[in-house]
Amino acid sequence: MTLTIAVHGLHKSYGDVHAVNGASFEVQQGEFFGILGPNGAGKTTTLEILEGLRQADSGEVTVLGVPPWPRNPALLPRIGVQLQATSFFERLTAREQINTFASLYGVGPRRADEMLELVGLSDKADTRTEKLSGGQAQRLSIACALVHGPDLVFLDEPTSGLDPQARRNLWDLLRDINGQGHTVVLTTHYLDEAEILCDRVAIMDHGKILELGPPATLVRRLDAPTRISVESGLISLDDARALVDGATVDGAVADGTDGVEVVDDGVSLTIATRTPAPVLAALADRNAMRGLSVRGATLEDVFLNLTGREFRE
């Protein structure tokens, strides 16, 4: 058994607020595990309990085989935690910053420089941390979390507040880190991020884990229709309906009750169907494929399906 994290029946309240309400999950060694949920879902609280910063009210938690609470100095060198970008010593340069953290673990400056290189901050080594951009600060923060070569890394919303380019760069970095054998536990409120990065994702809301599994499985399990859009005006609504009826195989009915529907919003005409192949073929026959886009269901649909509300209110 190579269970890195095991959580059973975890509860944590702050006064009246039930921040974590009976969460259970396991993380395997080497896995990239995501906790996805809107703000206030209880992600940070869960993570802080795993890190040993907070005591659970009840439930069993083991991290790398031992309970993280009370503070266990033998466990700490084996985990790495990325806190918010601001948790740096004041007025130190990037290199001084990571060297300070490295030495707390008995790690030398050579390795610290390697980490700066890995996160692409070698040219910013002598810049004060106050002057780093958001993305650079996040990368430094991650470098500080990894400098002692931990088995398990916790990342709490590492990409929030970053511009799209910086997010993408960070995703590459996180994938590399996971590829090198570090188990990664990440929280995020970005659906696309969870979908792209995580081997498995736990969808969390109001302190409860609603769904748990690989993103592709969760989406497939939803059995949602595929949405095919073409430019508006290429074919009429009636034609489109007929086309869907004609293309329907295996007895599926295109009456909208099982998620198959045709909508024209004046810009694009969208056909939702569970059997996209014949629909696409029929559209091709009619030479009506200008502006074609095909979208499958996403985690967003999974969340909508689980909670009955949009992910971001």
Partner: protein, 356 residues
């Protein structure tokens, strides 16, 4: 984890020397006071009184040269032939007194406006006349002599009193603010939380902060004594000045405990400095850092006994300039360490790693 100790101390030291505000308020600002007081009130020994001699006064003019030289240290005697102008000048305060002789009577004209000075002149003249009487009565070896001697070193100047007091204040500011602001800022910026996630032990963290604060205090001491010892200011340390080092170490602990207590209550650095200011500034006044408490009401003196800075100031004065033995600082060191233990323990109970 001595490694953690070194690297944390380094991080704190760099954070301090790169913080212009902290450098200003712990070193430059108190130094300005030292320079100002030390320069303005330089050499108070020149409190000679000016008097004017109208015509010829035998007791002055027939004085032996040696006695005359001694008299010069206390009285500056101008001569004038014009009685009216001389009296007018006394009235205006240009002279402390005008002296004339009519027959065998020495007459001293003085103004009531400066009673202290005229009192001094009157005393001096009285003794001169007395001496002259003894001589004319044939007494050359008087039965009793009064020999007044100052208890301190002859060279005692304002700078001697000012330096320990202002240094004490500077150390109080440095240690209190250093501890309070580190605690609050590190908690607010989640550095404490980050350190808690590393294997560093709490005593290492505290040890680093204490070490850096003591280093800052000793640096303040070196700079202050260095500048006050410049010939322009003329500080002269007595033999046991080095006892100020253990005193300053003990006082740093005491002031840090105050800072930690302030930091336990405050949530923001601004609140922490406000609380620290509210404690340190009144303490500095009540501890005689800026002016002596000799004339203060007795309740002030009673209150001041509870203040660590008061004990630091008094003990530093004793060993640095009053020339007292090394043992004289021990009670103060004991008091300061005791204060640090009591207040530090309270602060430890109120300690929080996190805001929430």
């Amino acid at each position: 984890m001595s490694r953690g100790l070194v690297s944390l101390s380094r991080a704190m030291t760099l954070g301090f020397i790169r913080d212009r505000m902290a450098l200003f308020f712990t070193i430059l600002f108190p130094l300005m006071f030292l320079v100002l007081f030390g320069g303005l009130l330089k050499d108070p020994g020149t409190s000679r009184s000016d008097i004017v001699e109208i015509g010829s006064v035998a007791v002055f003019d027939q004085m032996p040269a040696e006695a005359k030289a001694q008299l010069d240290q206390v009285l500056k005697i101008d001569k004038s032939g014009d009685r009216d102008t001389s009296l007018e000048k006394v009235r205006k305060g240009d002279y402390a007194a005008a002296v004339e002789q009519q027959g065998s009577t020495v007459i001293m004209h003085y103004s009531a406006t400066d009673q202290v000075k005229s009192g001094i002149v009157r005393g001096v003249l009285g003794s001169i006349v007395q001496d002259a009487n003894l001589v004319s009565a044939g007494v050359t070896v008087p039965a009793y002599r009064l020999d007044a001697q100052q208890v301190e070193d002859d060279s005692l100047k304002t700078i001697q009193f000012i330096t320990p007091g202002i240094l004490g204040w500077a150390i109080a500011v440095g240690a209190t603010f250093g501890a309070a602001l580190t605690l609050v800022t590190w908690r607010q910026k989640k550095i404490l939380r980050r350190l808690r996630l590393s294997p560093v032990r709490t005593p290492t963290l505290i040890g680093a902060r204490v070490g850096v604060s003591i280093g800052v205090a000793l640096l303040q001491m070196a700079i202050f004594i260095g500048i006050a010892s410049l010939p322009y200011f003329g500080l002269k340390l007595s033999d046991n000045w080095w006892m100020a080092i253990p005193l300053i170490v003990a006082a740093t602990l005491a002031f840090m405990s105050i800072g930690l207590l302030a930091g336990s209550f405050a949530k923001t650095p601004e609140a922490a400095s406000a609380i620290a200011n509210l404690v340190v500034l009144p303490m500095a006044f009540l501890s005689g850092s800026f002016f002596p408490l000799d004339n203060a009401p007795s309740w002030v003196k009673t209150v001041s006994q509870a203040l660590p800075l008061k004990h630091l100031n008094d003990a530093m004065l004793d060993v640095m300039v009053r020339g007292q033995g090394p043992g004289s600082a021990l009670p103060a060191i004991g008091l300061l360490v005791g204060f640090a233990l009591v207040v530090g323990t309270i602060a430890a109970f109120l300690f929080r790693w996190d805001d929430v």
